[in-house]
């Protein structure tokens, strides 16, 4: 018997009799009187991100120039803000070449009010390492894409089949040296949400 069979056999023998799988009633976790948009804004701040509200998609580029006047290597995957790109992503042969990327602009698919996390799946990621390896990350999100809890986010994701996807909540951080919070560990040093 190989290890696979051995392990499965042992588990089969040792497991208790079948217990019921509980059902998740996601609505019990939501306070209907709470404004989810203002909660989302509050949470973005709490997790170390910046949130700016724009009136239209045309304001993205001027805002980016204002925020990152010195940035040299930029890439925007938002078509309406493609003028901000200084690099041609199709020319990237190895993800390692992205090491000197200054600013990355991606479209967020879902925002979660309870924890400030934004979902991005591979369709909008192009290269998986992008939002981690970039120095500054900008996510463009529509107000209508904000949901209350993590349960609601998974309900939306349920129907999509993604190869890879990630929830990002704030910039990378660590508190491994004497519990002092330092923003900017191995991933992006800052996160800006542009809410439209």
């Amino acid at each position: 018997m190989n290890s696979r069979e051995k392990i499965l056999e042992k588990i089969k023998t040792n497991k208790p009799s079948l217990l019921e799988l509980p059902k998740i009633d996601k609505d019990i976790f939501v306070d209907v009187n709470e404004n989810q948009l203002s909660k989302f804004k509050k949470m973005i701040e709490a997790v170390g991100g910046n949130l700016l509200t724009l009136n239209s998609i045309d304001e993205i580029i001027p805002k980016l120039i204002e925020l990152f006047p010195l940035a040299k290597n930029n890439y925007s995957h938002i078509i309406e803000a493609s003028g901000f790109s200084t690099i041609d992503i199709s020319e990237i042969k190895k993800p390692q070449e992205l090491d000197d990327l200054d600013v990355l602009v991606l479209e967020g698919e879902i925002g979660i009010a309870e924890n400030g996390a934004v979902w991005i799946s591979e369709v909008n990621l192009i290269i998986r390492v992008l939002p981690i390896i970039t120095t500054h990350l900008v996510l463009v999100l529509k107000e209508s894409q904000i949901v209350a809890t993590q349960h609601h986010a998974f309900e939306k994701i349920e129907s999509s089949d993604f190869d890879y996807g990630i929830f990002i909540s704030g910039p990378s951080k660590t508190a491994d040296i004497e519990q002092s919070l330092v923003i900017g560990a191995q991933g992006a040093l800052s996160l800006t949400i542009l809410l439209i």
């Binding site: 392990i7 497991k15 019921e20 924890n115 993590q150 349920e158 990002i168 519990q179 191995q186």
Partner: protein, 456 residues
């Protein structure tokens, strides 16, 4: 060395112990703040516990389902009965891929299997990329906490360590400077890595995918750059469906550090083009633990560390005093199942106050299990003579009211009249750092009888 002996060593530096105690208690407070903001937290915990209990009751089928789906997605699945086999599998994958430089994100499982020394002995460079783990790796130590691996180190110690290994300038322990120095150094390691090893926080039977959570982004940096990704998981990491992630992602970070969610929650389902993705499923004693009804629920654990942060013993004895991969209350119920003799002092490293069970996001009855392990250990492993004798005497006294009264009287008289040097003499361990209360003239019985008489 027993836990109490090792704890004694840790307690030699009183300032450090006090700092350790307070720092962890502060994390416990952050956890409370985060938890109180969640509507129906207790129902969420009940779900967390219920889903894991169900999973364990059908684990073999879920593992088969997971394997089938993962393979459909192009992931290679390996099975390891124990730590040795796990290490050999990982090494073989690296060898076949001609990988010499490996970056690894946090995985308590690979610690448990002692993967690093195994690979190093085979001439493979393995770098721990979580900052806390990187610090303890440089110091040639092991993590003292599962979420805060270097919590036992002062910033001055990290400063010195980085000066020696990274060539940093003395900075008085400036966390920002030190973190940035590690970032630069690790960035190079990520770029050069031939393979990345990550842990698995949750594996989903329904989709064959798995989720890895970090705050630093180190798991993603590794896995998205290197051409080989190996994810190592214990069999109990499985959950039935993707929707169940909602429950655990809400529970995990709040319980661990008081954050609403970790910065990155990465969902891996298929590999990048032209790369390899492997999953190593490890048993290493877990199926044995599954056979023990009293201790089965310890397999619910999602490795948040909340039980450590709240434990009055852990906070004052430090993670290394447990001499086990997983320290603290949860480690004290897991470790005896692996090696009863080696870890026989751990279930006694508790006041049985129950705080661990109260904060556990998946409702493991930790303090009850600690008590149950004590019953087994007392029967199956030799106990110190003094402890055995005193337990016997105490049992006899407590079973005999007349004797109890007589001894109580003598004890109270002694506490009133004998000098401190006698009361706190060597056999009285309590007296080493504390004084006993002054003996009252009246016993509780006397007082109670008198009170009843007065009231009549």
């Amino acid at each position: 060395m027993s836990h109490s002996k090792a704890a004694e060593i840790f307690n030699k530096n009183e300032n450090k112990v006090n700092w350790h105690d307070k720092a962890l208690w502060f994390v416990r407070h952050k956890r409370d703040n985060a938890v109180h903001q969640v509507l129906e937290w207790e129902k969420l915990r009940t779900l967390g516990s219920g889903i894991k209990a169900h999973m364990l009751s059908n684990l073999d089928n879920y593992l088969i389902q997971f394997e089938e789906n993962a393979q459909k997605n192009g992931i290679q699945v390996h099975w390891a009965a124990d730590g040795d086999e796990h290490n050999r599998i990982v090494h073989q994958i690296l060898k076949d891929g001609n990988a010499k430089k490996v970056v690894k994100s946090k995985s308590m499982l690979t610690e448990e299997c002692h993967l690093n020394p195994f690979l190093e002995a085979h001439d493979i460079e393995i770098i721990d990329t979580d900052l806390g783990e990187y610090i303890v790796q440089l110091a040639k130590e092991i993590p003292s906490h599962i979420v805060l691996p270097a919590i036992h180190k002062s910033k001055e110690e990290v400063d010195e360590l980085f000066q020696e290994h990274l060539g940093t300038k003395p900075c008085g322990g400036d966390p920002k400077y030190l973190t940035n120095a590690a970032r630069k150094h690790l960035r190079k390691k990520f770029i050069e890595a031939d393979a990345a090893i990550t842990g698995v926080n949750f594996a989903i039977a329904e989709t064959g995918g798995f989720v890895v959570c970090t705050n630093e982004g180190n798991a993603d940096m590794g896995a998205h750059l290197a051409p080989i990704h190996i994810a190592c998981m214990g069999v109990e990491k499985l959950i039935p469906k993707q929707e169940h992630l909602g429950v655990y992602l809400r529970l995990l970070a709040r319980s661990a550090t008081g954050q609403p969610i970790t910065t990155y929650s990465s969902h891996f389902k298929r590999k990048r083009e032209g790369t390899q993705m492997h999953i190593v499923i490890v048993d290493n004693g877990r199926s044995e633990q599954l056979s023990r009804p009293d201790f089965r629920a310890s397999l619910h654990c999602i490795r948040c560390g909340a039980c450590m942060n709240t434990c009055p013993i852990y906070r004052r004895s430090g993670g290394h005093s447990y001499n086990a991969t997983i320290p603290g209350p949860i480690g004290s119920i897991l470790s005896p199942g692996i090696d009863l003799k080696k870890h026989s002092s751990l279930p006694f490293a508790s006041t049985l106050c129950g705080s661990c069970s109260d904060v556990c996001p998946v409702k493991i009855d930790i303090h009850t299990q600690l008590y149950k392990w004590r019953q087994i250990i007392t029967k199956e492993t030799p106990q110190p003579k003094l402890k055995k004798a005193s337990m016997k005497i105490m049992g006899d006294v407590f079973a005999n009211p007349k004797k109890f009264e007589r001894i109580g009287k003598i004890a109270r008289w002694s506490l009133r009249n004998l000098p401190k040097s006698v009361i706190n003499s060597k056999p009285n361990i309590w007296g080493r750092s504390r004084d006993l209360p002054k003996g009252e003239k009246e016993s509780f019985d006397d007082w109670y009888i008198k009170k009843n008489k007065d009231e009549q």
